[in-house]
Amino acid sequence: MGNSKSFFEFEAVVSSWDILLKGFAVAMFAATLATALAIILGLVVALMRLSTVAIYRWIAFAFTQFFRGVPLYVLLVWVYFGLAIAVNINLSAILAGVVTLALLNAGYLSETFRSGILAIDSGQIEAGLALGLSKQVVFKEIVLPQAFRIVIPPMGNQYVDAIKDSAILSIIGVPELMRESQQLANLYYQPFEFYTCAGLLYLIAVVLVSRGTNKLEKRFYTHSAQN
């Protein structure tokens, strides 16, 4: 059918470049905001799991189990098409998407943070306490900075996962890269070209974030070596 022209036709992709880039920006914004929220929430949940109060531990455990067990697509559909209709709240697609993504990632990150904190040698805490520092100061100044270094690589992985998962937000109509690609692919009837381009853009984002994480990790290690 389209054999009169060349096999791959990327003119349409090039001419819609600004729309695609805008979609890409929305995807990155959603993934970044969701990861930032997930880091805060994940840390809170991790601390609750390490708490001496049993009820906090139970809530945190249930949170982690729930959000690690449920698929993003199922939760997204439940929140956006189920919950929002049932309790009659007007939820914007981007808000529903970011919150859902953040909750799922917080479930994973809380486990990461917990194991990072537990990995700190107890001698460090004992030494801090022996020096006369308060429990809070020991935690903030001794445990957290060391735990942070440990969790940089898994945190980077989680960010990468959030970027990849953000493509699913297209099903509730968030105007991110995949949504725009779908619409343009239908408009020009060139799914191969547009989805290839979308795949490449995600690939670039993922590779850049992984590189960045590696650099950050190395910098933290050399800093600690110098001390």
Binding site: Q65, F66, R68, G69, V70, P71, L72, Y73, V74, L75, V77, W78, F81, G82, L83, I85, A86, V87, N88, I89, V160, I163, K164, D165, S166, A167, I168, S170, I171, M178, S181, Q182, A185, P191, F192, E193, F194, Y195, T196, A198, G199, Y202, L203, V206, V207
Partner: protein, 228 residues
């Protein structure tokens, strides 16, 4: 907030439609299992490629692994089902496209698991196997593989959980899985909350029981034996 909602909760729809939802679940499980089988095959090929003596094969396998791990499953699914099949006139059913997308993504993760598992078996085991006169084939089948499998199984089941969760998105290309059925039924009954809740609960119980199983398995197999 609930008071000014016009939504009428009707939990009877669950009683009426759960057999259909369950039918959808079976399709989800089928697609994820088929995707897993594909992942294992691809993972074995890529892991062997990464451990090859030929530098070119190592490079190619590593690049393929990186590429497949970096493309979102959702994009891959659309690329295969709408893009690739149209461009190359390669007719695929929705089910086949779903299996391919899951298999490719899972395979890239499996490659790492297999590689780590094979590398974790001490080299002395292989040397000992050669020394008592076993062939290369025999030593990998009877000496290396049984030891590597202990290390491989727990992360493998975790990858399966990932694929099971990933398999939920195939409804977007029209596979009649659980979500597809729930959406379809909720158009008739207008009870999306109840139906999607049911889907969510089924899913969570499924993934939690599998990960509980992994936890027990990890304790039973215990890495200590291989680590020495």
């Amino acid at each position: 907030m609930m008071s000014n909602s016009n939504y009428k909760f009707d939990w009877n729809v669950i009683e009426k439609y759960w057999p259909e939802i369950l039918k959808g679940l079976i399709i989800t499980i089928q697609i994820s299992l088929a995707g897993m089988a594909f992942s294992i095959l691809l993972g074995i090929c890529l892991a062997n490629g990464k451990l090859s003596n030929n530098l070119l094969i190592v490079r190619i396998s590593s690049s393929i692994t990186e590429l497949f791990r970096s493309i979102p499953l959702f994009v891959l699914l659309f690329w295969i089902y709408y893009g690739f099949s149209l461009k190359f006139n390669f007719a695929l059913t929705e089910f086949e496209a779903g299996v391919l997308a899951l298999g490719i993504t899972g395979g890239a993760y499996m490659a790492e698991v297999f590689r780590a598992g094979l590398l974790a078996v001490p080299i002395g085991q292989l040397e000992a196997a050669y020394a008592i006169g076993l062939s290369k084939m025999q030593s990998s089948m009877f000496i290396i593989f049984p030891q590597a499998i202990r290390i491989i199984i727990p992360p493998m089941v975790n990858i399966y959980i990932g694929l099971l969760k990933g398999a939920t998105i195939v409804s977007v290309i029209g596979v009649s899985d659980m979500i597809y059925v729930a959406r379809y039924v909720s158009l008739e009954t207008f009870a999306p909350f109840e139906l999607y809740s049911l889907v969510g609960i089924i899913f969570i119980s499924l993934t939690l029981s599998i990960s509980g199983f992994v936890y027990l398995l990890e304790r039973k197999l215990g890495r200590s034996k291989v680590d020495g």
